[in-house]
Amino acid sequence: MNELTSISRRNFLRLGALGTLGAAGAAALAQQNQAAAHEAAPPVRPNSDGIDHSTHGGNLTVGDVDTTPPNFDPTKYLTAFDYGKMSKLPNGQTLREWDVFAADKEIEVAPGVYFPAWVYGTEQHGAHVPGPTFRCTEGDRLRFNFLNAGSHPHTIHFHGIHPPAMDGITPILQTGERFTYEFDAKPFGLHLYHCHTPPLKRHIHKGLYGAFLIDPPGGRAPARELVMMMNAFDTNFDGENEIYAVNTVAFHYARHPIPIKVGELVRIYLVNITEFDPVNSFHLHSGMYRLYRTGTRLDHYEFTDTVTMGQGERHVLEFTPDYPGRYMFHAHQSELAELGWMGMFEATE
C-alpha cells in the first residue's frame, strides 16, 4: 500500500521543525493519541486458519519441487559421485575420463519458481545445477572431453595444481566447439570447477559450477559422505539473489531431512559458490564439527559449529551425532537462511 506514502511518519516528524504553536499543540495531541493507540493495540494471537505452522513458524516455501527423473533431485545429488571411465595408462597410472557438456536448461529453484540456467552435464549425472561431482584420487590422470552445447561461449576452469594451459581461461569455446582438459590430480582436497568466460558473474550465477573432489592416496575414514554446494539464484537479474540454498532447491532438506545415524561419522564436502554476496556460512545445531580447511590436510584445523566462507572457499566437515532427532543446519546470515538456505539432518538409532 504505497498510495499514501506522501503521508509518512518520517515526514510527520519533520514537522516538529516548524515550531508553530499550532503544530506543537497538534503534535502533542497526536502523541497522546498514539500512546492511546498503543495501549489499545490488540494482542497478536496465534491464529487458527488451518495453515501448517509446525515447520519453523511458517518460514518455508509452499509446495514441493518435482524431483522425478530427469529432473534434479537434491537428495540424490548429496551422494552422487561421478568417478569417470577408468582405465590404466601404460605407465600404470590410473586414467579417469569424462565426457562433459554445457547446455541451456530451465530449472526449478523453489516450488513453482523457474530459472533459465546454464548447466554442466555428464551421462551419469544428467544436466543440472550444480554440475556433476567429479571424484578421483591424488595422482590419477584426468581427462575431461568438453563439448559446449550451450547457446553462449563457455569453458571449464578447475581449481588445483595443473599446467596453466589446462586452466580453462583459454580457449573460450563457442557453441559446438570441443576441448580436452588433461592433467594429473593434485593436491588432494576439496576443489571446485566453474566456467571462466566473461562476464564471470553471469556465467557462475547462471549455474556453471560443480564440486571437484581429489581423495588422499590412502583415502579418508569410512563415513556417510555428503556434497553440499552453497548456491543462490538471482531470479529477476537485478544483481541480488532472491533464493538461497545448498544444492539449488530452497528449503529442500528442511522439507526432506537428510537421514543419518547416531554414532555414524558424517562427512560434508562443503563448497561456497554463492554469487553477489561476499560471504556465506554453515552453522550446525546440536553438534560441533571438525573443520578441514580446503580438505588439503588430514589433521583438522578447528572444532566449531559455524564457519564463514568467501566465494570459492570450500571445506571438509566431520561430525558424529550423539543423539537421535533433527539437527538443523543453515547459513548463519539469518537473511540467507530465511530465503531458503536451511535444512535438517534426521538422526536415528
Binding site: I7, R9, R45
Partner: protein, 406 residues
C-alpha cells in the same frame, strides 16, 4: 435514411445487392477473420524469439493486517494469467494460502493469506514471486490492525468526515451576516477571494488526481480516466446551469443556484480529502490523522466563506444554509468511509477528476458574476480589489495547507 425520396430497392442504394444491415456486418466479418488468423496462425513468427520471459504485471492493491496474519489482494494486469509460486515477508520465504487457488487470470484478483506475527508500529515488506522468478513488492508503512467495518468503526469514520467537512463549512457560513454588511467593493473582494480559493482547490485536486492515478494498474489508463471524469463533470454542470437565462442568473434564485454549485464542487473536493484521511487512519497513520483533522478543519473554513459569497445580496433561509453545508461537507463523510474500508486508487482518481471538472466550472460562474458587476460600473474586472481578493484567497489556502501537506 431520407424518407422524402420515393421508395427504391435496397440494391440501388448500396450498389452491391446487399441489405444495409448485412453490408454493415462485412467489416466485422473481416475483422473476425483477421483476429482468427492472429489467434490460430503465427503471422508475427518472424518477431518471435525463443525463451523470452512473459510480460508480467502484478500489483498488491491492498494489504490488510489482521491479528496474526496479513491478507493481501493481488491484481493481475498483464496479458497472460500469472501463477504466484512463493511469497516473502521482509526477505524471508513464508507459507501462505491463495484464494482462489491456481493462476490469476488477466484482470483477475486473488487473496493471499500469510500467517505472520507482524510487529505493531513497524514497517513490513511483502513480495510475491511468480513462476518466472519475478518479484512484485507491497509495503506496509506502519503495521496496525486494519479496521473492520463495524458499527463503532462506521460511526468513528463518519465523525471524521463531519470534522473535516461539515463543521468547517458550517463555521465558514457563519460569516454570512458580517459579509452582508459589506459594501459593493467589500463583496467583490470576498467573491474574488472565493475565486482564489477555488483556483487553489482546482490545482490541488488535479494534482491529487494525478498522484492517485500513479498507483493504479496500467490497464485502467488512470490518467485519461481522471481527465475524462473532469471533462464530463464540467459538461454536466454546464448542461445544468445552461438552462438559466442571463437575467435569471442575477436573481436571488440564480445566486442561490451558484452557491449550490460551489457547494457541490467543494463537496466533490472534500470527498477526496475524506478519502485521504480515511485511508491514512486505516493505514495506521492515526497519529498523523488527528493532525490532519485539525489541519483540514482550518483549511476548509474558507470554503464556507466561498459558498456564502454569491448570496450576500439575498436573505437565504436557514434550510438553504443547512443544505449547502451538507452538500459541501457530507461527501467528506462518504470519502472517509470509502477511504477507511475500501480504498481504491482508481475510485479516488475518478472522484478527484470529477471534483476538478466541477471546480473549473464554478470558477467560471463566480468569475462571470465579478465581470458582470465590473461592466455594470464601467470598471475592469481585473481591478486592484479583485486581484487582491484573488491573491489573498490563494494565499489563505496555501498557508493553511501547511497543516495538511508534508
Amino acid at each position: 435514411m431520407d424518407t422524402t425520396q420515393p421508395a427504391s430497392t435496397p440494391s440501388a442504394k448500396t450498389g452491391a445487392g446487399l441489405p444495409a444491415w448485412l453490408s454493415a456486418l462485412v467489416p466485422f466479418a473481416l475483422l473476425s477473420a483477421l483476429v482468427a488468423v492472429f489467434f490460430f496462425g503465427s503471422p508475427l513468427a518472424v518477431f518471435r524469439t525463443e525463451g523470452l520471459p512473459p510480460v508480467e504485471s502484478l500489483s498488491l492493491e491492498r494489504i490488510e493486517l489482521r491479528p496474526g496474519k496479513f491478507v493481501a489482494t493481488v491484481f493481475n494486469s498483464s496479458p497472460d494469467p500469472i501463477t504466484i509460486s512463493q511469497v516473502t515477508v521482509d526477505d524471508a520465504f513464508w507459507q501462505f494460502e491463495i484464494s482462489p487457488a491456481g493462476p490469476i487470470p488477466r484482470l483477475g484478483r486473488s487473496t493471499i493469506t500469510i500467517p505472520y506475527y507482524w510487529v505493531q508500529g513497524e514497517p513490513h515488506a511483502i513480495a510475491v514471486i511468480t513462476e518466472s522468478g519475478t518479484a512484485f513488492a507491497g509495503e506496509v508503512s506502519i503495521a496496525v490492525e486494519t479496521p473492520q467495518p463495524g458499527m463503532t468503526q462506521f460511526i468513528a469514520y463518519g465523525l471524521l468526515g463531519i470534522y473535516i467537512g461539515v463543521v468547517p463549512v458550517g463555521l465558514g457560513l457563519l460569516w454570512f451576516p458580517a459579509m452582508r454588511r459589506m459594501g459593493r467593493r467589500g463583496l467583490n473582494f470576498v467573491l474574488a477571494l472565493t475565486v482564489g480559493l477555488l483556483v487553489f482547490l482546482l490545482i490541488d485536486t488535479a494534482l491529487e488526481a494525478i498522484e492517485a492515478a500513479g498507483s493504479v494498474a496500467g490497464v485502467f489508463q488512470s490518467l485519461p480516466v481522471a481527465v475524462f471524469a473532469a471533462l464530463l463533470a464540467w459538461l454536466a454542470i454546464l448542461a445544468v446551469s445552461g438552462k438559466q437565462t442571463e437575467s435569471g442568473r442575477d436573481s436571488s434564485a440564480g445566486r442561490l443556484r451558484i452557491a449550490a454549485l460551489i457547494a457541490l464542487s467543494i463537496g466533490l473536493h472534500n470527498l477526496g480529502e475524506g478519502l485521504a484521511v480515511g485511508a491514512a487512519f486505516a493505514l495506521g497513520e492515526a497519529a498523523l490523522g488527528s493532525f490532519l483533522v485539525i489541519g483540514f478543519t482550518l483549511h476548509n473554513v474558507t470554503e464556507g466563506v466561498g459558498i456564502a459569497a454569491p448570496m450576500t445580496k439575498d436573505k437565504p433561509s436557514l434550510k438553504a444554509f443547512v443544505s449547502l453545508a451538507a452538500l459541501a461537507g457530507l461527501p467528506a463523510v462518504v470519502g472517509a468511509w470509502i477511504g477507511g474500508f475500501a480504498y481504491s486508487p482508481l475510485l479516488a482518481t475518478i472522484f478527484l477528476g470529477v471534483g476538478a471538472g466541477a471546480i473549473w466550472q464554478v470558477i467560471v460562474e463566480v468569475g462571470r458574476l465579478l465581470i458582470r458587476d465590473a461592466e455594470k460600473h464601467g470598471e475592469s474586472a481585473a481591478n486592484w480589489i479583485n486581484v487582491a481578493g484573488l491573491a489573498l484567497g490563494i494565499a489563505i489556502m496555501y498557508f493553511t495547507a501547511y497543516f495538511v501537506k508534508f
